[in-house]
């Protein structure tokens, strides 16, 4: 039997495969192969039926104008051209999504690293603090959004609290200026997820490194940047990628927080790529245009993922880079 312990999933041993040509499979091998295909058939059927098929269909639909009731009408690249050149809402949604991702993801990471670093000290009640910080990430997004919708109401508790300090709070969700900051505050409430992962990474840093740094007389600040930070960069990178992908797909919070089910929010200030796509598809039945927006979203996500991976070589530190 194969015992492919710890095999890197990407490396499928192409060299060996190419070098060795089996002239004929034995009966036993054939049977094994048959069972392999039989057993993976749930995934294979799902892949073809729910992923590959729909993807191909999506490309086709994006090149048509289609309301799903009348036959689709071929329009070529018009939908893409419309999004990129004519539709101001697309650019607004794109900008809003960038804005949200560009602030919420780094902010969440900075807070995560900061809190993890504090929790990594010899703190009494560390478990309790960790629980408090992690608990919000267990709350379903819908419940979170409900609480924030209530909290951020113009005469809601948050503005009341600001009132204690003599600050007159803004209209938050009803204001084109403040709805995006409100969404960012909501996302920061979930910083506990990153904190816990970063903390476990910090726990794994060998003590000797700090001992050496201490002997060399490095300050705590210096030790953080010279020892802790390089060691946790892989986890930061992972959270960055996942955070970016998630942020570009933001939907539920926006849908729930936007006032009176006006998904775009005041003056489309909270219109995001996915809310726009959703509206175009399921409110206006512009399936062609919505599919084009979906592919543009995919392109945006891919671009940022690739950029992140490219730059990662410069700042992500892999100790075990031997493979």
């Amino acid at each position: 039997m194969t015992t492919t312990v710890d095999e890197a999933p990407g490396a499928v041993r192409p060299a060996r495969r190419a070098g060795r040509r089996r002239p004929k499979m034995s009966k036993r091998r054939k049977k094994e192969a048959f069972f392999f295909w039989l057993f993976i058939s749930p995934w294979l059927i799902g892949f073809v039926g729910f992923l590959l098929g729909p993807m191909i269909a999506s490309v086709y639909i994006s090149l048509t104008e289609w309301d799903s009731f009348t036959p689709p009408e071929w329009v070529g690249l018009d939908n893409y051209a419309k999004a990129l050149t004519e539709d101001p809402i697309f650019w607004k949604a794109l900008w809003n999504t960038f804005f949200y991702a560009a602030i919420s993801v780094p902010l969440g990471l900075v807070i995560g690293v900061w809190l993890a670093n504090l929790l990594n000290k010899r703190v009494r009640g560390r478990k309790l603090f960790r629980t408090f910080i992690y608990l919000p990430t267990l709350v379903p997004l819908v419940a979170t959004a409900m609480v924030f919708k209530m909290v951020l109401a113009p005469s809601g508790p948050f503005n009341d609290m600001l009132g204690w300090f003599g600050i007159e709070g803004p209209q938050w969700l009803l204001s084109a200026t403040w709805i995006k900051p409100a969404l960012i505050i909501l996302s920061v409430w979930g910083a506990g997820a990153a904190t816990v992962l970063l903390l476990s990474a910090m726990n794994g840093i060998p003590r000797e490194l700090y001992e050496a740094a201490e002997i060399d007389g490095a300050s705590a600040w210096r030790q953080f940047w010279a020892v802790t930070f390089p060691q946790i960069t892989p986890v930061i990178f992972f959270n960055l990628i996942m955070g970016l992908i998630g942020a570009f797909q933001i939907f539920s919070q926006v849908y729930i927080l936007a006032p009176n089910n006006n998904v775009g929010g005041p003056d489309n200030a909270s219109q995001m790529m996915v809310t726009m796509l959703f509206q175009e598809a399921f409110s206006f039945y512009h399936f062609g245009y919505a599919s084009a927006v979906a592919w543009l979203l995919f392109l945006v996500i891919m671009t940022f993922t690739v950029i992140a991976f490219r730059t990662s070589r410069k700042w992500v530190f892999y100790e075990t880079e031997v493979r």
């Binding site: 094994e32 749930p42 799902g46 639909i61 409900m146 003590r207 201490e214 796509l277 598809a281």
Partner: protein
């Protein structure tokens, strides 16, 4: 994506034995000394992170009158425990049904993922066949496709099948597993020694027998993690139900809550106290599941980078 992220977690996991800051014996290095400022920051942040919970509780206990005037206080001053029964009767919506629908959708989704991912993951870990490498590359590649790409064609497909306004579009795809879970199971099974199933095969057990009798019983830590992950995801899912379900009777709680806030007319405030009760009902099972299954989720974190809990 999970591939690239896998190694750091492994490294962290393997080194568990020698933590940077031991709990006992050793002298505390200066970087690990907690100053009063450390405590101050942690206290303030913990408090800020906890305020929404307190609000959730205090609003859920507020009277209808307070709710109608939006005159909530941060700490509870009223204790209308009857809200917790009123939520099922006084909203004009079948909230009990919402909860039932959520349970049904989440459970069946988890069953589907566990059954399918275990079988497929086992095949990828153990069985040999030409083309397996390519297939696994495809599994990994599909992790990168955002759901939005397939959302519209899938909707049109399910509409064609007459599945709109049923639970089927939310449940059935889970019986065809997903790439991430296949990857997790495959990694897990790869670490189990092959001796046992070889011996079992000598004794005449077929491939399905080995899966069913040998591997499946050993897989339960990862399958529990997958079940928890699927449960929490399906329980909290908003967009899926929003697309497919539009009758009150078929809605899960996550969508029902949104419905509750939007049915009141524009001039009238939503029944915030009852909405918060609903939010608590939506939240508590997730916290319970997390605490019961914590160690399995940790297992999953080690296996595939991070599944995150959401």
């Amino acid at each position: 994506m999970a591939v690239a992220a896998e190694s750091p977690e492994h490294v962290a996991g393997r080194r568990k034995g020698r933590r940077a800051e031991g709990e006992k014996g050793t002298r505390t290095l200066s970087v690990f000394k907690a100053s009063p400022a450390t405590y101050a920051v942690l206290l303030v942040v913990s408090a800020l992170f906890f305020v929404p919970f307190i609000l959730m509780i205090s609003i859920s206990l507020a009277s209808d009158q307070t709710s109608a005037q939006n005159a909530f206080t941060v700490f509870p001053t009223e204790f209308e425990w009857s809200n917790f029964t009123d939520v099922f009767t006084a909203t004009g919506l079948p909230v009990g049904r919402f909860v039932l629908n959520s349970v049904l959708i989440a459970t069946l989704s988890a069953v589907g993922q566990v059954l399918s991912s275990s079988l497929v993951g086992y095949a990828f870990a153990r069985l040999r066949a030409p083309g397996k490498g390519v297939m696994f590359m495809i599994v990994l590649a599909t992790m990168m496709i955002p759901a939005q790409i397939t959302m519209i064609p899938q909707f049109l497909l399910f509409k064609e099948l007459g599945w709109v306004n049923t639970y089927l579009p939310l449940i059935i795809p889970n019986f065809f597993t997903n790439a991430f879970n296949v990857f997790l199971v495959r990694q897990f099974v790869s670490r189990i020694s092959g001796e046992l199933d070889e011996a079992a095969q000598m004794d005449g057990l077929g491939y399905f027998g080995v899966y069913r009798k040998i591997i499946l019983p050993m897989m339960w830590p990862i399958l529990t993690a997958i079940a928890i992950f699927t449960l929490t995801h399906a329980w909290g899912d908003f967009m899926g139900p929003l697309i497919y379900l539009n009758s009150e009777e078929s809605m899960p709680l996550a969508l029902g809550l949104q419905y509750m806030t939007s049915t009141s007319n524009a001039m009238q405030l939503p029944p915030w106290n009852l909405v918060m009760v609903g939010s608590i009902i939506l939240t508590l099972p997730m916290i319970a599941i997390y605490y019961l299954g914590q160690k399995y989720l940790y297992e999953m974190n080690l296996q595939g980078g991070s599944a995150g809990v959401k």
